[in-house]
C-alpha cells in the first residue's frame, strides 16, 4: 500500500531515459567544474593565498592600479618606477585582458556585497578560468565528436598537468585566461564552420578579440585558422559555410584586435599576420571562381578563365608582398616568432630569449610528465579522427599537430598543446569505451533475442560469427574496459601528485625538507622586499638582474632599472655589464644609472640553485652581446664555469661574485666542510677575502638568499 503511495508521489519526478542522461551529464559537468577549481588550490593550502613567481607581480600591480584609478588612467599610465631612467608606457605595452577581467570580477563581487581583497580575486582568477575551460572543452568535444567525447575531454583537461602548471591558484598570468580564450575562440569558429551561421562567426570574432586582449599567443590563432582554411581549400572542402565563418572572423576580428594598443596596426602590417590576409584574398578568388562557374555554362571556357585568373592572382599577390617587404610597409617576423619556425635562430641570435628556461626545447621526459597516458592515446585519437573526417575533426587534428610541434620547440608551449591533446585523446577514450560497452550490451541483447526469438535475419551472417565468439569477446571487452578505467584512474593519481609536488610552489616562498624530514620555509624574498619598503628612501633606485624587477616594484614599491618586460635589450645589457665588471668599473656604470641599492640573490647558504651565480653566464652573454668588452671566455676556465680556487681571475673579482660571496668566506655552512663552502654548487669558494670599496652591505636576509648593498657616495676629492 505504502509502496504504491510513494510511487504515486514520485511519478511526476520520474525521468525518461533522455532526461536521466541529461541529468547525469549536467551532474558530471558540475563535478568536473568543481574538481578543476579545487585541484588548483594546493598552493593555497600548502603556503598561503599569494601571487606566485615573477610576471604575476606585475599583473597584480597593474590590476591594483586599474581598480584604484579606473580604466582610462590605466590606459594612459606612464610608469616611472621601472626601467629607470627611461620609464615605461604601461598602457601601450601590455595585453590588458587579464587585468580588466580581474577588475571586473572584483567590481561584480563588490556590487554583490562580497568585500574581498583584490589579491584574492587575482589569486583565484586562473582556477576560475580553468573551470570555465572544462565547460568549453565539453562543448568543443561535443561539436567535433559526440557528447561522450566532450565529457571525457572536460575531465581530462580539468586535471591535465600541462594546463595546471600555468593555472594554479596564485599564478596570476596571462596564460591562465588565455587558454580559455583560445579554446573558446576555436570552439566558436568550428561551430561557425559547421553551421555557416553569421551569429557564430560574430561570436568567434569576439572570442578572438578577447584572446588578443589577453595574450600574445593570439598569433597562433591567426596563423592556425588560415592554415586550416587553406587545407580545406586544397582538399576540396570549400563551402559557403567556411566562407562566411572565415570572412566574419577575419574582418571583424581584425578590426577589433586593432583596438588593443599593443597590437594596433601590426595586425595589418607585420609579417606574422600576412598569412591570414593572403588566405582572406584567396577566399575571395575562390568565391569569385565559383560565381563565374555558375554563370558560364561551358566547362572549357571556365578552364581557360581559371587558368588566367589564378596566374594573375598569384602574380599580383607575389608582387604586392614583395613591394610591401621592400618598402618596409610589411615588417618581417619578430624574433620570437622566427625562433618557432627556425628553432636554431634564437640560440644564435637572441640570448635574451634563449636565456629563459621555459624557452628551452622539450625533452621527451617533459612530455611524459605533463601528459602521462594522453601521450599514448593521442595517435589512436588521430586515427579515429581520420576514420571519420569532417571539417571539425580536420580542425582538431591540425590544432593538435601544429601545437605539438611548437611544444617540441619550447617547453612553455606544452600549455597550448594541452587542450588539443586532451580533446584528441578524449576521442580515443570515448570511442573505445563506447565500442566496448556497445559490444557488451549488444551481446546480452543478442543472447536474449537468441533465446526467445532466434537470430534475426537482417544481419544473420555477421551475427552468427559474433555469437560464436561471444563469451571470449565479452570477457575481452570487460577486461579491456577495466584496463581503460584503471589507466584513467592512474592518470588522475598522477595529475594530482604532479600538481601537489611540482606545480604548486609559489617560488617566492621556498620550501625544503629539513634534516629530520620536516618542512622548512624560506621566506627571504618577502623579507628583503619589505625591508626595502620600510628602510629605504621613497625615490631609491634598486639595481638587480631583471628577473626580480617586477617583484621589487610590486612588493618593495621602489624604482628598478630593469624588469621582466625585456623590451630594451641595451638597458639589460648595461646591467649585465655592471654585474660582470670589476668593482670600480661597475661603480661608474652604477653612478651613471643613479643607482642607490644593488640587490643580488644568493643560494650558497641554503643550496637554492636558481640564484644569480648560476644565472651569471647569461648576464655575461647578454652584456657581451651589446658591449664587446665583456667576453664570455674571460669567465671560463677551459670552457668550464667554476667558482672555486681554479676559477678565472676575472670571475673571482667581478661585482656579482663579490656581492654574492661577501663575508661568506667566514661562514660554516655544512658540518665537516671548510668555511665558505657553497652548498648550491658543492664547492669551496675561491675568493674568501672580499673587500668592497664603493658599496657596503645594507641588509642580508635570514637565510642569505637576498643580499642588498648600498652604493656609497663618491669620495670627497681633496
Amino acid at each position: 500500500m505504502s509502496n504504491s503511495y510513494t510511487s504515486d508521489i514520485l511519478k511526476p519526478f520520474k525521468l525518461k531515459t533522455k532526461q536521466q542522461e541529461l541529468l547525469i551529464r549536467v551532474l558530471i559537468l558540475c563535478l568536473v567544474y568543481i574538481l578543476a577549481f579545487i585541484t588548483r588550490l594546493f598552493s593555497v593550502l600548502r603556503y598561503e593565498s599569494m601571487i606566485h613567481e615573477f610576471d604575476p607581480y606585475f599583473n597584480y600591480r597593474t590590476t591594483l592600479y586599474v581598480t584604484q584609478h579606473g580604466f582610462y588612467d590605466f590606459w594612459n599610465w606612464f610608469d616611472y618606477e621601472s626601467w629607470y631612467p627611461l620609464g615605461r608606457i604601461v598602457g601601450g605595452t601590455l595585453y590588458p585582458g587579464l587585468m580588466v577581467t580581474a577588475a571586473l570580477i572584483y567590481r561584480l563581487l563588490h556590487f554583490l556585497r562580497f568585500a574581498v581583497h583584490i589579491r584574492e580575486v587575482c589569486v583565484l582568477t586562473a582556477p576560475f578560468f580553468a573551470s570555465n575551460t572544462t565547460l568549453v572543452a565539453y562543448f568543443f568535444g561535443k561539436e567535433i565528436w559526440d557528447s561522450g567525447a566532450g565529457l571525457v575531454a572536460a575531465i581530462l583537461i580539468a586535471v591535465c598537468p600541462g594546463y595546471i602548471s600555468r593555472s594554479v591558484a596564485g599564478s596570476y598570468d596571462n596564460e591562465g585566461v588565455a587558454i580559455f580564450a583560445l579554446l573558446f575562440t576555436f570552439y566558436l569558429f568550428v561551430k561557425a564552420v559547421n553551421t555557416g551561421s553569421l551569429a557564430w562567426g560574430l561570436a568567434s570574432a569576439f572570442g578572438y578579440f578577447y584572446m588578443v586582449s589577453a595574450w600574445g599567443g593570439y598569433v597562433f590563432i591567426i596563423n592556425l585558422i588560415p592554415l586550416y582554411v587553406l587545407v580545406l581549400l586544397i582538399t576540396g572542402r570549400y563551402s559557403m559555410r567556411l566562407y562566411v565563418a572565415y570572412n566574419c572572423l577575419y574582418i571583424l576580428g581584425m578590426l577589433l584586435a586593432m583596438q588593443i594598443r599593443f597590437v594596433g596596426f601590426q595586425h595589418v602590417q607585420s609579417g606574422e599576420h600576412m598569412a591570414a590576409m593572403g588566405v582572406f584574398f584567396l577566399m575571395q578568388v575562390f568565391y569569385f571562381l565559383d560565381w563565374v562557374k555558375h554563370m558560364l555554362s561551358d566547362t572549357n571556357l571556365f578552364q581557360e578563365f581559371l587558368r588566367i585568373t589564378v596566374t594573375c592572382a598569384v602574380a599580383v599577390g607575389g608582387i604586392a608582398l614583395g613591394v610591401g617587404m621592400a618598402s618596409g610597409y610589411i615588417s618581417p617576423w619578430t624574433g620570437r616568432f622566427y625562433s618557432l619556425l627556425d628553432p636554431t635562430y634564437a640560440k644564435d641570435h637572441i640570448p635574451i630569449i634563449a636565456s629563459v628556461s621555459e624557452h628551452q626545447p622539450t625533452a621527451w621526459s617533459s612530455f611524459m610528465f605533463d601528459f602521462h597516458i594522453l601521450l599514448f592515446l593521442f595517435p589512436a585519437g588521430l586515427y579515429f579522427c581520420f576514420k571519420r573526417l569532417s571539417d571539425a575533426t580536420i580542425f582538431i587534428v591540425m590544432y593538435g599537430l601544429t601545437s605539438m610541434y611548437f611544444a617540441g620547440v619550447m617547453v612553455r608551449l606544452i600549455l597550448v598543446a594541452t587542450p588539443a591533446v586532451c580533446l584528441i585523446s578524449a576521442i580515443a577514450v570515448s570511442a573505445t569505451v563506447k565500442n566496448l560497452t556497445v559490444l557488451l550490451r549488444s551481446k546480452t541483447k543478442v543472447a536474449q533475442i537468441g533465446s526467445t526469438k532466434g537470430t534475426s535475419s537482417a544481419k544473420a551472417s555477421s551475427k552468427a560469427s559474433l555469437d560464436q565468439s561471444q563469451p571470449f569477446q565479452k570477457n575481452g571487452a570487460m577486461a579491456l574496459l577495466f584496463g581503460a578505467f584503471y589507466l584513467l584512474s592512474r592518470y588522475a593519481t598522477h595529475c594530482t601528485w604532479v600538481t601537489s609536488e611540482a606545480y604548486s610552489s609559489p617560488s617566492i616562498v621556498l620550501a625544503a625538507r629539513g634534516a629530520h624530514g620536516n618542512r622548512v620555509i624560506f621566506d627571504d624574498y618577502r623579507e628583503a622586499y619589505f625591508w626595502l619598503r620600510q628602510n629605504t628612501p621613497l625615490d631609491a633606485k634598486v639595481m638587480s638582474w631583471w628577473d626580480y624587477g617586477y617583484q621589487i616594484t610590486a612588493m618593495g614599491n621602489r624604482t628598478v632599472i630593469v624588469d621582466n618586460n625585456t623590451w630594451n635589450n641595451t638597458h639589460i645589457a648595461t646591467v649585465g655589464r655592471a654585474m660582470s665588471s670589476y668593482e670600480d668599473e661597475a661603480y661608474e656604470i652604477i653612478r651613471s644609472l643613479d643607482v642607490d641599492y644593488v640587490l643580488v640573490v644568493f643560494g650558497g647558504v641554503t643550496g637554492y640553485s636558481s640564484d644569480d651565480i648560476n644565472k651569471f653566464l647569461w648576464m655575461v652573454r647578454i652584456g657581451g652581446g651589446v658591449f664587446p668588452v665583456i667576453k664570455e671566455p674571460d669567465y671560463l676556465v677551459n670552457g668550464e664555469y667554476r667558482i672555486d680556487k681554479g676559477a678565472a681571475p676575472k670571475m673571482l673579482n667581478c661585482l656579482m661574485y663579490k656581492l654574492s660571496y661577501y663575508r661568506f668566506g667566514e661562514m660554516m655552512t655544512e658540518y665537516g666542510k671548510p668555511p665558505g663552502y657553497d652548498r648550491a654548487r658543492g664547492v669551496e669558494i675561491g675568493n674568501k677575502d672580499i673587500k668592497l670599496e664603493h658599496l657596503e652591505e645594507a641588509f642580508t636576509t635570514s637565510n642569505w638568499i637576498v643580499r642588498i648593498y648600498k652604493v656609497k657616495p663618491p669620495n670627497n676629492r681633496w
Binding site: 586544397i234 578552364q303 607575389g318 636554431t344 625533452a363 595517435p379 611540482a502
Partner: protein, 342 residues
C-alpha cells in the same frame, strides 16, 4: 772648382739616393701589384701562398712593408675532421675576404687575405710555429720575426668566425671592413626561374585541386604525415636539432660501450628520444588497429592472437616508458600500480 765638385758630389749623392729610393719604391709597388694580380686571379680574393711566395712577400722584404697579410692556416688532409670545422672556416674566411675587397672597390693595397696549405708549405708552418689548427695570423707591416712579431687570433673567435675576424682586423689594422656580403640562398637567376615555374605551374595545380585529384585528397597520406609530426615532436627531435645533441655517447671508461640514455632532466640524446617516441606511438597505433582493422578479420584465431599480442605489447611499452622516465628524472611517474608494490 772645388765648389762645383762638391756640388756634383752632392748632386750625385742626392740622385743616387733618390734612385735607390725609387728602386725600393718600385720593388714595393711591384710586390703590391703582384699581390693584386694574385688576388684578382683567385675567385674569392684569397691569395694562395706557398713557401716560395712566403719568402717573396714576407721574409725577404724589408720592413716596413706597405701591406699587411692575414694568413689562414689550412690543411686539406684535416678537412674531414668534423670537430675542426675547417671547410666552414675556409668558407667564412673567403667571405670576409671578398666582402672586404668589394667594400674597398678593389682599391685596397693595405691588407691582403692569404691562405697556406700544410702539405705544400711545411717550412712556412715551421716559420710561424703553427702546431695546431685552425689558426689565423696577422703579419703586420713591421713584423720581422714570424714567430714573435705576428699577431694570432684568439681561439675563441673561431666559433663565429666572420664577426670575430672583422673585429680582429678592425682592431689591429685600423682598417674598416664594412658589411659582410653573405651570398643569397637563392641566386637571382634561380629566383626568376622559380617564379616563372610557379606561375606556369599554378594554373595546372589549381585545376587539379578544383578537380580533386591530387595526393592531398588522400587521407592516408595526411594520416601518415600526422603520425610523423607526432612522433617527431614527442621524441624531442627539436631538442636534438636545437641543442645539436649526438645520437649516442661513447663511454669514457670503456670505449667499446655506447651510452644511449642520459640520466637527468632537460637533456636527452638522439636515439634515446627516438626509442621513446616509438614506444609512445606504438600503443596508440595498436589501439587504432585493434578497433578498426582487427574487427574485420574473419579468422577467430588470428583475431585472438592479434588481440593478445597488442595488449601485451602495449603493456610492455607503457611499462618501459615509465621505467625509463623514473630512471631518467628521478620523479616516480605513476605507472600501472603504486610504486611501493614493486
Amino acid at each position: 772648382m772645388a765648389i762645383s765638385y762638391i756640388h756634383l758630389f752632392i748632386l750625385s749623392f742626392v740622385s743616387i739616393s733618390r734612385f735607390l729610393e725609387i728602386s725600393k719604391a718600385g720593388a714595393e709597388s711591384e710586390l703590391v701589384a703582384d699581390l693584386l694580380t694574385l688576388q684578382s686571379q683567385s675567385e674569392s680574393g684569397v691569395i694562395h701562398l706557398d713557401d716560395r711566395t712566403v719568402s717573396k712577400f714576407i721574409t725577404s722584404t724589408k720592413t716596413p712593408r706597405p701591406y699587411s697579410l692575414l694568413i689562414f692556416f689550412d690543411a686539406i688532409l684535416l678537412h674531414d675532421k668534423s670537430d675542426l670545422r675547417l671547410p666552414v672556416l675556409v668558407h667564412d674566411f673567403a667571405l670576409v675576404a671578398s666582402s672586404f675587397i668589394a667594400n674597398h672597390n678593389g682599391s685596397n693595397t693595405k691588407l691582403f687575405f692569404c691562405d697556406l696549405e700544410f702539405r705544400e708549405s711545411q717550412s712556412s708552418f715551421k716559420l710561424f710555429d703553427v702546431n695546431a689548427l685552425p689558426n689565423i695570423y696577422l703579419v703586420g707591416p713591421d713584423a720581422e720575426s714570424l714567430k714573435d712579431d705576428t699577431e694570432q687570433m684568439e681561439q675563441s673567435g673561431f666559433t663565429r668566425l666572420t664577426e670575430s675576424l672583422v673585429e680582429f682586423i678592425e682592431s689591429r689594422t685600423q682598417l674598416t671592413v664594412g658589411p659582410i656580403h653573405h651570398p643569397p640562398i637563392i641566386s637571382k637567376k634561380q629566383m626568376v626561374l622559380i617564379i616563372g615555374f610557379l606561375l606556369i605551374w599554378s594554373p595546372f595545380a589549381a585545376r587539379k585541386i578544383v578537380a580533386g585529384e591530387t595526393m592531398f585528397h588522400n587521407p592516408r597520406i595526411w594520416l601518415s604525415g600526422a603520425i610523423f609530426v607526432y612522433f617527431f615532436s614527442v621524441s624531442g627531435a627539436m631538442h636534438i636539432i636545437i641543442r645539436k645533441m649526438p645520437m649516442f655517447l661513447m663511454d669514457r671508461e670503456d670505449p667499446n660501450k655506447l651510452i644511449f640514455f642520459y640520466r637527468g632532466t632537460g637533456i636527452q640524446l638522439g636515439l634515446e628520444g627516438f626509442m621513446v617516441g616509438f614506444l609512445y606511438t606504438i600503443v596508440g597505433l595498436l589501439l587504432a588497429v585493434v578497433t578498426h582493422v582487427l574487427v574485420y578479420v574473419k579468422d577467430l584465431k588470428t583475431k585472438r592472437i592479434g588481440m593478445l599480442f597488442s595488449i601485451f605489447v602495449s603493456f610492455w611499452a607503457v611499462k618501459q616508458v615509465i621505467f625509463l622516465d623514473n630512471w631518467k628524472t628521478g620523479y616516480a611517474i605513476h605507472g600501472f600500480w603504486p610504486s611501493r608494490w614493486n
